[in-house]
Symmetry: C2
Subunit: 499 residues, 2 copies
């Protein structure tokens, strides 16, 4: 090779290497640009707000112009098509599917009406329509306290701010009907000025403190769960003042909360059939999630229920909060490489397994209530019934804690089944105890069982006048609710065209 050719060759290699390097650097530059562009996007959104919002702004629509993507996705929580794919209707009537639950809640409003949950956008509409809130025709009428509004609306932090927390809780539900009108939305979780996540509900702050938690400097990833934990938790209303409290004083477990309730001798109601002092579980979604593998590995509620969406150069959280199964590709598959079908079936398998235990519990526990009633009728004494009633209370607390928790059989399948198994154990023990009381009273055969094969039959058995309930509700919805909304619009509390 001549000196010249050699030089040409070297030059050729050098240029090749040069261009390869240039190519790589270019691609790295693109990557860096795309990353900084997204940061800039967030900054630019906050720096170019079209509307200046401060304080507690309860009207969700006000946020639409500044945060159109989040707002539009939040609007879609009104959509229940995903549920209907599986249930055949937008809301399933759980009492119709499981008439035993009417028996379990005899003496409490849940025996009248209990459906599968719907999206945040329906919160106000649903609380107006459920038979559980009754039909108050004047602001002073019950049956429910104002505390029932607590989780339904960003009007609540506004009212708590102006009225005071204890004052807010202690009125009737009907007294705030023209004030609480916007469904769960922006101000429930965000500071209006900078959209930082915030805890707007005192229950969670007090609950965390009572559990021994220091609430200064909560990490952002934890806030992405705590925003939900403001409402998706177990709580109770104090008999005096209806103050809302999380029973976390002995930890966040089903047994810890039970110990707390026992220590203050609390019961939500006395069961109409068995006379057992029942604790009605709310929806301890957060507590059960905390015991599961996703929580243990640092996955937040928002990671699966509010997955990120990329639109052009913008990445934002989908505010259409719903089952992660509705968009497996943007939820599960962010971490798991399995097919949609495999992942979906993994969820269904856990549900099926837990439901096997649940089905047994509901049968045994309903029988225990009915048998206890029979024992009372036969002349059993308080002392004789004490053991059985405590067992019923324990069983029902565990059953309700599991079953009322949304998604619990997936969030923490092992804990979920443990709780149900403990419930099943207590239900059987209750029946055994009652059978002994009955034997002492001279009754050794089977206790006659009523026909509770449908919701209607079960409701008739426990003495509910459902036609009357529904008629009163109809009147309430047609006369009182429109007045509430009219007044709210007049006072500029409500700007929505909807509802």
């Amino acid at each position: 090779m001549s000196n010249n050719e050699n030089r040409k060759m070297k030059s050729w290699v050098a240029w090749l290497l040069f261009f390869v390097t240039v190519g790589i650097v270019f691609l790295l530059g693109m990557l860096a640009a795309s990353i900084t562009q997204r940061r800039a996007e967030v900054a630019s959104i906050l720096n170019n707000k079209k509307v200046n919002i401060t304080g507690i702004e309860s009207r969700n629509e006000i946020f639409a112009q500044n945060y159109p993507r989040e707002y539009e996705s939040w609007i879609r929580t009104a959509d229940t098509t995903f549920q209907s794919e599986f249930n055949g209707s937008s809301v399933a009537d759980v009492l119709e599917q499981r008439p035993e639950m009417v028996i379990l809640w005899a003496g409490y409003a849940f025996s009248k009406d209990y459906g599968t949950p719907r999206g945040h956008m329906h919160a106000i509409e649903d609380i107006h329509h459920t038979l559980r809130t009754g039909a108050p025709l004047s602001p002073d009428e019950g049956p429910q306290p104002a505390t029932c509004w607590t989780c339904k609306s960003p009007d609540v932090p506004r009212l708590m701010d102006s009225l005071g927390i204890a004052e807010f809780y202690k009125g009737t539900w009907a007294s705030l009907g023209d004030e609480v009108v916007n469904p769960i939305g922006c101000a429930d979780c965000h500071e209006a000025e900078n959209m930082n996540l915030k805890i707007s509900r005192p229950g969670l702050i007090e609950g965390l403190k009572n559990s021994g938690r220091n609430i200064d400097n909560i990490p952002q990833q934890e806030m992405r769960s705590l925003a939900c934990a403001q409402c998706h938790v177990e709580y109770y209303f104090t008999p005096d003042g209806k103050y809302l409290i999380f029973p976390w004083h002995n930890g966040l477990t089903v047994e810890g909360s039970e110990r707390y309730y026992d220590s203050i001798r609390f019961a939500d109601y006395t069961h109409k059939l068995s006379r057992a002092p029942i604790i009605k579980a709310q929806h301890p979604d957060y507590e059960i999630y905390k015991t599961g593998i996703h929580a243990q590995r640092g996955v937040s509620c928002a990671d699966c229920h509010m997955p990120y969406i990329s639109e052009g150069g913008v990445k934002y959280s989908n505010h259409q909060i719903r089952s992660p199964l509705a968009s497996i590709n943007s939820t599960c598959q962010v971490c798991h490489r399995e097919s949609e079908e495999t992942l979906r079936n993994a969820v269904y398998e856990r549900q099926r397994s837990a439901n096997e235990i649940r089905n047994l519990v509901e049968k045994e526990l309903a029988a225990a209530h009915i048998e206890a009633k029979f024992a009372w009728e036969r002349g059993a004494t308080e002392a004789e019934m004490e053991e059985a009633l405590q067992l019923i209370r324990q069983s029902q607390w565990r059953w309700d804690y599991a079953v009322a928790s949304h998604g619990g059989s997936f969030h923490s399948p092992v804990e979920f089944q443990r709780i149900l198994a403990m419930s099943l154990d207590r239900a059987h023990k209750a029946r055994f105890a009652i059978s002994k009381v009955l034997a002492q009273l001279g009754h050794t055969g089977d206790v006659p069982m009523p026909d509770i094969s449908t919701k209607e039959k079960a409701q008739a058995y426990i003495g509910l006048e459902m036609t009357q309930e529904r008629e009163a509700k109809k009147e309430f919805v047609e006369t009182v609710v429109p007045e509430w909304l009219k007044k709210a619009r007049a006072n500029n509390r409500l700007v929505s065209r909807n509802y």
Copy 2:
């Protein structure tokens, strides 16, 4: 910049790029070399065997020279220090920890002796010493059939090959004492010629066929579990001929196997107290593992129980089969990034949760057996007891299926707890049924409960003469066993210095 400087600069850049590229290519070459080197290592091991082994070679020591690493790690299955870290002794006496289990197995040899499992190297020694095999002083004596040897030794495939499978099963256990002498080892899972994995036990081949599985061309990764599934499964011995069969005809679930057993009206024994027809579960490790997430994601038994080790350029499977918790860094952490402590606690948490249900089951089920005995003594008839006995059978089958399964609460915690919850349900129902029978017979109070707070008390209660059992065993171990081993050495069946 002069033309010369410019050329120098270009040349400098060119050389830099050149050397960077050379460096990367060199590292890639190293990687490729290390990969092919490992392949070559395997080939070289097989091409440079020091001993030529063919057919079924039952003596594990023969393989030592050709496969020193696998052999040496297999030898370490004799080591039980890992267990003793947790139990305080190399074998825990389960009956001492849980005296109710003596009651549950009354009428069956497991009520005499049941310890935690030990390593494969102990298989022969342990089956000689357990009280369950009794003390046969002559080859014709029972109590156990030859089928009990099936999972204990690579002498078994050799004997099946020479005697025939059905012939092998139908003798007494004592009749093969001088033939089955090498503990679970090489020939149980490997072809001597090429060390390919093989299925040496007809039970698995027949079981897979009965379950509808085509057993041609089983993938290698599945063989890494099926080698274990030869023994770590549920099976039973036919009453006639003691032929070993996997009850997989209706699938591999606890309910599928139960349906099969019910269909052939099978029972391992009639319970001594309750007279319930009991199915004794073996160790359905494989079946329960198959329902768990690791199996569903394609992880084999060997992946966690025989993790790869790299020594110099050689990568081999650790044949010290044991709990993956003993070497989390080479087992769990191959896939999971969490700390050893986190991973270990995740296992313990699942165990604790399942044990809560298990503890309840054992208490209820033991009571059911004792109460059934009481009902018989009070004059209950077969017809009156039928329902209760079926419930006891169902409860005990589920309990034993879960509890007898090694590692089941980790392999598949959800299925494990479901099975235990179903067992608990049936145990309670059995007690309830018995209480009704008793009430009909005029007994309505509590059934008197014996003191079964220790293993000794429970064994005395069920009528075991443990001193006699232990003395007979001592004589057997001191007189018969040495003769067996002497004869085996004389016939060149045994080359081990050990034991």
